[in-house]
């Protein structure tokens, strides 16, 4: 392993300016991706996983802002780059593919033109050469008769084909890092299988790192080397993929894995995580999962748990793994007996 990671995100805070208030959505996200490694960021909707990827790309909406933290790419801090500098990196060193292949391609240009555009942008080559490159890329991602397909418009292709085009476009300049934001969510399972397969094989060919964002743990198990589990804008668990599935640590991760109906198992009732994600304007001060956690103690509501290494390459952000856990539990029991009717502060709306 070289002296620094391909991508290293440190203590990232991102929020949105809404009229007069500023709402912080991402609250101290840390992770790193090594060269040639695939990291999956997993979580339910609204957990901030897409925002993380947009921050890395420097594509936050105008009202969004990185308030704290660093995004180190090849050791350089991307948060300090200007839009112009970022535009040289985007599409070239870091590429991205999106969830909706239906709408992510410009409907009025041919796919060939759209691929050629990125090539011409970053490599000073002629239009003709760029077009040839587009054909090559289409061939590479497994699109039949690419010579004709370069002249197709996006709407003439199926969803799977379009996602292949997106991949071709993303890989056209041999990026070091590919960010894939829910690339298969909109696709049917049989097509999803094809795309995941393609990505796995291309990753090896291109020797790049991948950050894959998904809500589907099945997909995670297919492609990931490392997994980052996020909940309500915070990292709750960060682990090696095997370790995560074999031995999930954080109550949220556990709940998530259990609540998926399994093909191989028979259950009458699914284990569930009660409640719903708290509103970003009304987050608990402490652990954000506390409102839904079966083990929650008063401390959990008030103090943010640190990311604790529970085993090698496996960290979880939960007081249960702290040395103080027994104390905390005792305190909690004492508190509960004092105030029988203590109500949690779960907000009504989401």
């Amino acid at each position: 392993m070289s002296e620094h990671s391909q991508l290293e995100v440190k203590n990232l805070h991102v929020g949105f300016q809404k009229k007069k208030t500023f709402t912080t959505i991402l609250n101290g996200v840390d992770f790193s991706v090594e060269k040639g490694e695939t990291l999956c960021i997993v979580g339910e909707s609204g957990c901030g996983k897409s925002l993380t990827s947009l921050s890395v790309m420097g594509l936050l909406p105008k009202t969004g802002k990185v308030t704290e933290g660093q995004i180190l790419f090849d050791g350089e801090d991307l948060t300090e780059k200007s839009q112009k500098q970022m535009s040289k990196i985007r599409g070239n060193d870091i590429s991205m593919i999106f969830q909706e292949p239906m709408t992510s391609l410009n409907p009025v240009h041919t796919v060939g033109k759209q691929i050629a555009e990125v090539v011409q942008l970053h490599e000073k080559i002629s239009k003709k050469k760029a077009m040839e490159k587009a054909v090559d890329m289409l061939k590479l991602v497994g699109i039949p008769s690419p010579e004709q397909r370069v002249y197709s418009y996006p709407h003439e292709l199926s969803g799977g084909m379009r996602q292949r085009v997106m991949i071709a476009m993303a890989l056209a300049c041999n990026p070091k890092l590919l960010i894939a934001d829910e690339p298969t969510t909109a696709l049917d399972v049989t097509i999803q299988a094809q795309i995941l397969d393609l990505m796995n094989s291309l990753k090896n060919d291109f020797d790049m790192s991948i950050v894959m964002i998904t809500h589907d743990l099945g997909v995670v198990s297919e492609v990931a080397d490392k997994v980052l589990v996020m909940y309500a804008g915070k990292v709750v668990e960060y682990s090696d993929v095997k370790s995560l599935f074999n031995n999930p640590q954080h109550p949220y991760t556990k709940g998530l894995i259990e609540s998926i109906p399994k093909l191989t198992e028979e259950t009458e009732e699914l284990p569930i995580i009660p409640g719903s994600v708290p509103n970003p304007d009304n987050m608990p001060r402490g652990c954000r999962f506390a409102t839904r956690c079966p083990h929650a103690q008063p401390t959990c509501f008030n103090e943010v748990p640190p990311l604790i290494e529970t085993e090698s390459n496996h960290k979880a952000s939960c007081w249960m793994f702290d040395q103080r856990w027994e104390e905390i539990k005792k305190e909690g029991e004492a508190y509960a007996s004092r105030k029988e009717t203590a109500a949690t502060t779960e907000p009504v709306r989401n």
Partner: protein, 318 residues
């Protein structure tokens, strides 16, 4: 494509048929006897009756309508009651005038609207955006006759820079023709540009939200290239529809502006013909206008499909 054209042609015929019925009935319930207008105060009742007979005004309406339609289908719109000129001849004289005015107006409108719309949308929320929005709204709100009068007051009466009104054909004196058309074209152009600016702004804002714009940025494009290379063409598609409709409207609808600036175009023709009960001219001119509207819509649809490859001309109605 062929089926689209066939279907649209069928539709056009139906609409024109309805238009002909509407305008014919409207014109024929207009109070005022054209025969009287021709003959004036000095006419005797016998003469009026004779003329009414000659003009076919004494036939049942159905018969009149039928005769008219049969003539129209043969390309004969009849003769003006007022001066007995063939309606087609009159239209041929008026159309170039209105066309010149319309084209110039569009030219101004586009000249203003495209930069204004782009600036407004890409600098959303800034002073640029507000001033261009305010301009656009003002442009939509100012009545054409007031704007026209204001122009005359400022540029012709007070400053004396421009001739107040009038018309010279382009073929006769190119420069002067344009000069005379300047104020009327601006009057229409400003209003039109206002509408197009608003349209372009909202359409561009919507497009700028779309996923493929994000893809453009993700590719490493700068804002300028994203706006011009990816957003503008998509955003212009709805704007073109509106322009098409507007152009059609102005082909016959610059009534007030033409009146104020004494531009002898179709709008003025229709107004005077309605007021002087020149039925064949009203009918002919309105049929032409409706036809122009329908035809332009048809071309806009085709243009639409050229600009937006997603649209196939399958002929389904929305």
């Amino acid at each position: 494509m062929v089926s689209f054209i066939l279907r649209r042609l069928g539709l056009m015929i139906v609409i024109l048929f309805l238009v002909s019925i509407i305008i014919f009935s409207l014109v024929n319930v207009l109070p005022g006897d054209p025969a009287l207008l021709v003959l004036g105060q000095e006419a005797t009742p016998d003469q009026i009756e004779a003329l009414r007979d000659e003009m076919g005004l004494n036939d049942p309406l159905i018969v009149q309508y039928f005769n008219w339609v049969v003539d129209v289908l043969q390309g004969d719109f009849g003769n003006s009651i007022r001066d007995n000129t063939a309606v087609t001849t009159i239209l041929m004289q008026k159309i170039p005038v209105t066309l010149e005015l319309t084209v110039l107006s569009f030219f101004f409108a586009i000249l203003i609207a495209i930069p204004a719309g782009i600036i407004s949308a890409s600098r959303k929320g800034t002073a640029w955006d507000y001033s261009s929005t305010l301009f656009a709204l003002s442009g939509v709100s100012v009545p054409p006759f007031f704007l026209g009068i204001l122009f005359i007051f400022i540029f012709a009466v007070t400053l004396g820079w421009l001739p107040p009104s009038g018309y010279v054909p382009l073929t006769e004196d190119f420069g002067r023709s344009l000069l005379l058309m300047l104020m009327p074209a601006l009057t229409i152009g400003i209003r039109l540009s206002a509408e197009l600016t608003r349209m372009l702004r909202s359409s561009l804002l919507e497009v700028l939200q779309s996923d493929y714009i994000r893809t453009g940025y993700a590719k490493g494009l700068l804002e300028k290239s994203v706006v011009f290379g990816h957003a503008l063409r998509n955003a212009l598609i709805p704007v073109i529809t509106v322009s098409g409709l507007q152009m059609a409207t102005f082909l016959g609808g610059a009534v007030i502006t033409e009146t104020i600036f004494s531009v002898p175009g179709l709008g003025q023709l229709v107004v005077t013909s309605i007021l002087t009960r020149d039925f064949p001219v009203v009918q002919g001119a309105v049929m032409f206008m409706a036809f122009a509207v329908i035809l332009i819509n048809f071309f806009v649809d085709i243009l639409y499909s050229v600009l937006d490859p997603r649209i196939k001309l399958s002929g389904g109605t929305k």
